[in-house]
Each structure stands twice: as structure tokens, then as C-alpha cells.
């Protein structure tokens, strides 16, 4: 039979009040010191090359250099890799006379990062064409692995743009293994794998040139329609990001033009639900007074025009898509101001000077 326990009470205090206060303060200090040590370890490995973020970091650096050396007013293409593989800014420049830079990068970097990059590259008088991937309208603000690698390896300055809460979230999301890998790479730079995408295949405008039609290898897994087929959440952080970007462009005398990404045509895009998604995007840009070039259908192609994902065109698709974009761009661009002044004699000079 169970014996009743004696009524219990905690034992008397084992230390004076001040002792516990010191203990509590030490706990807070321990937390602070660990956090500081963690931030220090992350800062120490900034820029260390690792296999995962190599390509994106190199592409970012190259494009930033091109943008910095291209005189304004210029045209900038800002979006995820549908622009990298699907817009030939070299052709835009040749056809319109506007110096053009393809600033498009990996879409997984997220809307905040891509727009931050655009802010750094754009100057007064520039025109930004923004054919964003549909998923970029549907963001939660979560840090992707690609973005993490990009910031740690390529652009630590990006951290300065964050508020305290996103900064802490980012810092704490870095895994211990990643920091160790970075510190090791800093001490002894690793031999990075040479397969996969290569930054050296970009041309002088930042366009991809290795997406040759005969090398296309689109898998069934990559043949898919957008996840925004049923609409975009009003809670998405992208709306706010784009609204702020629009204001920034207005304040800095930069013209903003929206468009649609190149993607595979699926019959599902004829359904009413997709029509609602498109209307959401159109109405949003209308509310911001941003012209939208074309319709999604203008940039949908048969899957045979795609290289390796549903957003990456082959060079043939790239040519078609760029020509269609140029048609839509012309009424908005007009003649380049410098060309207008020089009577059009300087056409192409910008390109050869670079």
C-alpha cells in the first residue's frame, strides 16, 4: 500500500537575493556573449568560397561590375533566372540604342534581395524592366539556402539593409556546420567543383550564352506550372516590397516597367483561376501606376523551347522572347537621350566601349 508523502515545501533559500540577481545577470551575459561570439564567427568567414553559393556569388559580382561601368541612362533587367536565360539585353541594346544590363539572378534569392541589388545598380534616368517570376509575388520572407550562401559568400553588405529582427533571424538561421565550413574555407580555400552553371558563360551584358538549344535537357520533374495558379496571398510580403521599390524609383527618377516571365505553356493557363491570378498582378501594378508590358500569354512557349527548367529558355526561345519584349518596350522607351542629342550617331558605341 502506498504511504502518504509528507506535505512538502521547498527548502529555505540557499543564497541571498543578491546572489540570485548576480546569477540571473550572468545568464543574460552568457546569452549575450554567445550571441556576440556567433556573430563574430559569421563575420570571420564572410566571403569564404563554398560549393553551394559559388555560381550565384560570381554572377552577382560580374553583373554589379557591368552595371557600375555602364553609363546612365541605361536599361536594367531585374528578375530571377527567367531573365538570365530568357532575355538577351545585348539584342535590346542593339535594337533600341539603350545600353542594357541583364541584372537578373537566381529567383531563390527572393524579392527583397533582387530589389536591393537593383537599387544598387540603378541611377537617375535609368529604366528598369521587371519580368518577375510568379513565385516572387508569393513570398513569406523566409531565408532560403541560396540567399544565405549569397550573403555569406558574396554580399555581406546586404545584412546592413535588414532591421534588427530580420538580421537576428538571418544570423540565427545559419547552421553551425555552414559556419565551420566557411571558417575552414577561409583558412584553406577549397577546390570547388567545376560542374553545373558557370559564370564565365555570361556575355558582356550579363546574358547567359550556354543555353544552347541542342543541349536542352528539361526533365519531367521540372516541367510544371507555377505554384501561384490559384492566386497570390494578400499576406505575401512581396506586395509591400514592390510598393516600396516603386516609391524608391519615383524618388530617384527611375522608370519602372513590369512584364511577365517566360514560361512553358500549359492548358491550365486557360482556366479562370489563372485569370484571377493575372488580374491580381495587373491591378496591383495599375494601382502603382506601373505600365505592364504584354500579357503572360505573350511569353509562354512550347516546352521544346526550354533548356532545363520551366523558366529557363534555350537560346532560340531567348531570341523570340527578347524580340517580343523589344516590340512591347519601344513605345515606352523612345529614343535614348544621348542618341537623340547626337542625332543617333553613337548607336552601338556604348557596347563596343565596354
Amino acid at each position: 500500500m502506498e504511504t502518504p508523502s509528507a506535505p512538502a515545501a521547498p527548502p529555505p533559500p540557499t543564497a541571498p537575493w543578491r546572489g540570485y540577481a548576480r546569477y540571473c545577470l550572468a545568464m543574460v551575459a552568457g546569452f549575450g556573449l554567445a550571441l556576440a561570439a556567433w556573430i563574430g564567427a559569421i563575420q570571420l568567414q564572410f566571403g569564404a568560397p563554398t560549393a553551394k553559393g559559388r555560381w550565384t556569388a560570381e554572377v552577382t559580382a560580374i553583373k554589379a561590375r557591368i552595371a557600375a561601368t555602364t553609363p546612365s541612362p541605361k536599361l536594367l533587367v531585374v528578375c530571377g533566372s527567367n531573365g538570365l536565360f530568357g532575355i538577351r539585353s545585348e539584342l535590346i541594346e542593339r535594337e533600341t540604342g539603350w545600353p542594357s544590363v541583364n541584372m537578373s539572378n537566381h529567383a531563390a534569392l527572393g524579392i527583397h534581395y533582387l530589389l536591393w541589388q537593383a537599387r544598387a545598380a540603378a541611377k537617375s534616368g535609368d529604366v528598369i524592366v521587371m519580368p518577375l517570376e510568379y513565385e516572387l509575388y508569393q513570398e513569406t520572407g523566409a531565408t532560403t539556402e541560396i540567399l544565405m550562401e549569397q550573403v555569406l559568400q558574396g554580399t555581406p553588405d546586404y545584412l546592413r539593409t535588414m532591421g534588427p529582427a530580420p538580421y537576428l533571424r538571418f544570423i540565427l538561421s545559419v547552421k553551425q556546420e555552414r559556419v565551420l565550413e566557411g571558417l575552414q574555407a577561409k583558412l584553406r580555400p577549397p577546390v570547388l567543383p567545376t560542374g553545373g552553371y558557370q559564370a564565365r558563360t555570361l556575355n558582356a551584358h550579363g546574358d547567359e550564352t550556354n543555353n544552347r538549344h541542342e543541349k536542352a535537357h528539361l526533365s519531367a520533374e521540372e516541367t510544371r506550372w507555377t505554384s501561384t495558379i490559384d492566386g497570390i496571398s494578400p499576406e505575401s510580403i512581396s506586395w509591400g516590397e514592390l510598393r516600396r521599390f516603386r516609391e524608391w524609383c519615383r524618388d530617384h527618377n527611375i522608370r519602372l516597367l513590369a512584364s511577365y516571365p517566360a514560361t512553358i505553356y500549359f492548358p491550365v493557363y486557360e482556366e479562370a483561376r489563372w485569370g484571377r491570378t493575372v488580374r491580381q498582378i495587373e491591378e496591383f501594378y495599375r494601382s502603382l501606376d506601373v505600365p505592364v508590358l504584354g500579357t503572360p500569354r505573350d511569353f509562354m512557349y512550347d516546352r521544346s523551347f526550354f533548356y532545363d527548367t520551366a523558366y529557363h529558355l534555350t537560346d532560340r526561345g531567348m531570341e523570340q522572347r527578347t524580340r517580343r519584349l523589344i516590340e512591347l518596350l519601344r513605345p515606352h522607351l523612345g529614343e535614348h537621350p544621348h542618341l537623340a542629342r547626337r542625332g543617333g550617331q553613337a548607336s552601338g558605341a556604348q557596347s563596343s566601349a565596354r
Binding site: T14, Y20, A21, R22, G30, L172
Partner: protein
């Protein structure tokens, strides 16, 4: 709301502590108790407010019945009241927890196709039902004290134990509510916080970290996937450790939370994987449930002078019920029965003359080590049934552990080397490091006396505070890098 949830840590707990201090300061006992009941109901209702009336109804029913039992002369009417009370509690538990299982079993046996009702199991129902059945049984023996409805409500709803134990006894709790000072004290707050953080550390950094090696193996076992013998062992051992650090971590968090309010809980774990036999294991694992089953089921069945056959029968039945308590599935029932069988074998072995003859052979250091290893192995085999999706999956995994039907496991995406490094580290902690009760022994962390206090026990020193702060940082970091998981015992 879970104890490791940022809403709990960042909002609920600070508000409850502040309210407790403001309402209950200067010895205002009743308002303090009322505040704690209110906060506990908010805590419970956060998950699903619809079940708060169910909890309150159960409390009111059992309190009134307990009052009646305590004033009824022992005899047939008291017995009838007690049977009514226990039946009502078991019916409520059975309805929510076992209806689907019974319908499915019936369908399987009779070939019918009855639709099982889709019921959501109210959180903690297994715990608050058993606590109240214990209360009624003691009330029928006139062993309860009437501290009033408010104290009874606090005894059942007090949020640190409400949804996953420990299983409390009114004898341990009600005197504390009436005799202790329900008041915020700096020493209780800091001691409680330390125990809570130690539990949080076990849950977030140990249990959640090793959990990544569990699912792939058990999933492969359930779906006929290939796995190597090493992977099968890695999965089974990883789960053995995950379950321990998850539940022991939870229990420590509960003990720490209660201590912040000046309340002591009983210990629920005492380094169970150091057990040198299966009976020892059950004195160390989920101690409050083992004790409940021993005193409320086993001892009722054996009586004072039981024959050996009755003793063994009672052991098997008690342990099978223990398995059934964990969940409505044949796996749990088998797991319970298996432990019953282990106990019967152990009792039989102990009674054999041979056991006494060979005992001196194991007097050296290797004796306890061998006993611990053998007990641990038996426990691991039991956990395979406990965790596996079904009987076949458990057999497949055990087969792979024994080298039968094991493949290369190349498709499993499980790094056996990393898994075994984690397992070795966590096993060392479970086997050799002092547990939280032993570490905190000088400040009496639980109601029970601590055997073998740690050689270097806790004290509120600056260095300890710094180390705990750094550990807290790792826990907070874990929220951002580890996949969030529930406490495993919330399922039961």
C-alpha cells in the same frame, strides 16, 4: 501551446508570473490560486477552447463525487459510488481515445464496415483522468483532505503538469496549496528557471537533433525500404534516446515551471537507461505512471498474499494496461505485454536457485555493466514496437537489426557515421552524466529525496549562469535551424 513554444516562453509564462506576483503578493493565497487556475485554463484552451468545458465538467464531477465518497461510510454504497465514478472516467477516456480502435478491431474481426467517428483526443485526457481516478479511490478510503474546490481545480489544472504529467497525487499537491506560500520568491524562480532551461536543452538540442535519424529508418521499415544492419540499429537507438530526452526534458520543464511558483513535483525520471534490471527500469522510467499502476492496478489485483501465478498474471495485465494507456493500437498493447513478460522472466530468474549460485560470478565491475547492457537491449527492442507503424514494420526493423533481410540502405539517405556519433554522445550522457535531479540535489528539486547527488552540484554561481546563458543561446538558435517537433508524450 507547448513549453518550448516561443508564445509560451515569450508571453504566457512572463504574464502568468507577473500576474501571480501582483495578484498573490503579500500572502494573498486565494487570489493567487485563482489566478493560476485561470492561467491554466487559458493554457489549455489555447489548443482548443471547445475542450475547456469538458475539462471543467470532469473536474466538477470528480470533486463532487470525491466529497460524497469521503463522507460515505465504507460499504456497498461507497463501492457503488466508486465504481460509478471510475466507470464514468474510463468511459470518457475510452470514448475519445479508444472508440476508433475498437470499431476498427471489430470491423477486422466481424468483417463489418462501421465508420469510426473522427474524434480529436483532448490534450492530457489520459493524465487528468488517471489523476482523478486515483483521487476517487483515495476518497473512498477517506484518505483525502478537502482543501476546497479552488485547490482541487488547481491540483488538476495546474498548467505545468496538465497535458503530459507527471501524474500527481492529491497527497503531494493539496497540502502544498494550503501550507506553502503561493508567492513569487527569487530563489524558487531562479531554481525553477534553471531546471526549466535544463529540460528545454534536453528537448531542443538533444531530442530534436537526434530525431532526424529516426523517421527515415522507421519509414523504410514500414514501406519495405532497404536498410543496412547499421542503419537499423542507428534508427532504433536514435529513437530510444529521442524518447528519453524528449520526455525527461519535458518532465524537467514541468518540474522547473512548478518550482517557479513555489510548488514541488515528484520526480518522473531517474536515469532509466542505467537500470540494471527491468524492474529497476520501471522504478526509473515515467516513475509517476509506474507508481500509479503499481498501487492502483497491480496491488489491487495481487492483494496481500498472492500466489506466484497471480503475481505473474497481475504483472502481465498491469503492464498490458500500461501499454494500452499509451495509445489505442496493438503495437502499444504488445509493447506493454512484452514488458510484462520481461518482468515475469526477471521475477522467475530471481527466484531460481541457479540465480543465487551464479550471482557471485558477477560481483566484479562487469556484473552491473552486463546487467545494464542486457536491460538496455530489452528496452530498445520494446521501443521498436512502440514506435513502429505496425507489427510488420516492427518485425522488419528487428529483422534488419539482426541482419536478416538487411540491404545496403543506399537509398535511405542516412549517414550512419553521424548517427552513431550522436548516439554515442547522448548515450554517454544518459549513462554517465548526473541527471537534473542529481545536479540540483542541494536545492531539493523534487518531492522525492535524491539518491546519489552529483559530485559537483548546482549552485547559483556566476560561471553556471554564464554557461546556462550560452546554452540558452544554443536553444534559441535551435528554433531557427532545427525542424520543430512536438513532445512525443503529447500523443498519449
Amino acid at each position: 501551446m507547448l513549453f518550448n513554444d516561443y508564445v509560451f516562453i515569450g508571453a504566457f509564462l512572463p504574464i502568468t508570473l507577473l500576474g501571480f506576483h501582483l495578484v498573490g503578493g503579500r500572502g494573498r493565497q486565494r487570489p493567487a490560486a485563482f489566478w493560476l487556475v485561470l492561467a491554466s485554463l487559458v493554457f489549455y484552451g489555447w489548443w482548443n477552447p471547445l475542450y475547456v468545458p469538458l475539462l471543467l465538467g470532469s473536474i466538477l464531477f470528480n470533486y463532487l463525487l470525491g466529497q460524497r465518497l469521503a463522507t460515505t461510510e465504507p460499504g456497498s454504497s461507497a463501492k457503488a459510488l466508486l465504481v460509478t465514478g471510475i466507470s464514468a472516467n474510463l468511459l470518457l477516456l475510452g470514448y475519445f481515445k479508444y472508440t476508433g480502435f475498437l470499431v476498427e478491431t471489430w470491423n477486422g474481426v466481424a468483417g463489418t464496415a462501421w465508420a469510426a467517428p473522427k474524434l480529436i483526443l483532448p490534450l492530457g485526457i489520459s493524465f487528468f483522468t488517471f489523476i482523478q481516478i486515483g483521487y476517487l479511490m483515495d476518497a473512498a478510503r477517506r484518505e483525502t483532505e478537502d482543501g476546497g474546490f479552488l485547490d482541487y481545480c488547481l491540483f488538476i489544472t495546474f498548467f505545468p503538469h496538465l497535458i503530459a504529467g507527471p501524474l500527481l497525487s492529491h497527497r503531494e499537491m493539496l497540502p502544498q496549496f494550503s501550507k506553502s506560500r503561493l508567492q513569487l520568491e527569487p530563489d524558487n524562480l531562479m531554481i525553477g528557471l534553471t531546471i526549466f532551461l535544463a529540460g528545454l536543452f534536453q528537448k531542443v538540442l538533444l531530442a530534436d537533433s537526434i530525431s532526424v535519424f529516426v523517421e527515415p529508418v522507421f519509414h523504410a521499415a514500414a514501406t519495405g525500404g532497404s536498410m543496412s544492419t547499421a542503419q537499423a540499429w542507428a534508427g532504433a537507438l536514435a529513437y530510444t534516446l529521442q524518447l528519453y530526452f524528449d520526455f525527461a526534458g519535458y518532465s524537467d520543464m514541468a518540474i522547473g515551471l512548478a518550482r517557479m511558483f513555489g510548488i514541488l513535483f515528484p520526480a518522473n525520471f531517474n536515469s532509466p537507461y542505467r537500470a540494471v534490471n527491468i524492474s529497476d527500469f520501471w522504478r526509473r522510467w515515467h516513475i509517476t505512471l509506474s507508481e500509479w499502476i503499481r498501487t492502483r492496478v497491480f496491488m489491487k489485483m495481487t492483494g496481500r498474499r498472492a500466489t506466484r501465478a497471480r503475481l505473474y498474471g497481475a504483472t502481465l495485465v498491469s503492464m498490458t494496461l500500461c501499454g494500452l494507456w499509451h495509445g489505442a493500437s496493438w503495437n502499444f498493447i504488445f509493447w506493454g505485454a512484452l514488458h510484462g513478460l520481461y518482468l515475469v522472466i526477471y521475477y522467475n530468474w530471481r527466484a531460481l536457485p541457479l540465480a543465487r549460485r551464479v550471482a557471485p560470478l558477477f560481483d566484479g565491475w562487469w556484473g552491473p555493466l552486463l546487467a545494464r547492457g542486457l536491460t538496455f537491449l530489452c528496452v530498445v527492442v520494446g521501443w521498436v514496437f512502440f514506435r513502429a507503424r505496425d507489427w510488420n514494420a516492427a518485425l522488419a526493423l528487428l529483422g534488419a537489426m539482426a541482419g536478416r533481410g538487411a540491404g545496403t540502405g543506399a537509398a535511405l539517405n542516412l549517414d550512419s557515421k553521424a548517427a552513431f556519433l550522436w548516439i554515442a554522445a547522448l548515450l554517454s550522457l544518459a549513462w554517465f552524466a548526473p541527471n537534473v535531479q542529481q545536479w540540483m540535489a542541494p536545492v531539493r528539486p523534487t518531492l522525492d529525496p535524491v539518491d546519489e547527488p552529483a559530485r559537483r552540484p548546482w549552485k547559483p554561481a556566476v560561471l553556471t549562469g554564464l554557461a546556462l546563458g550560452a546554452l540558452l543561446f544554443l536553444v534559441v538558435k535551435g528554433y531557427f535551424t532545427l525542424a520543430p517537433t512536438q513532445f512525443l508524450y503529447f500523443n498519449f
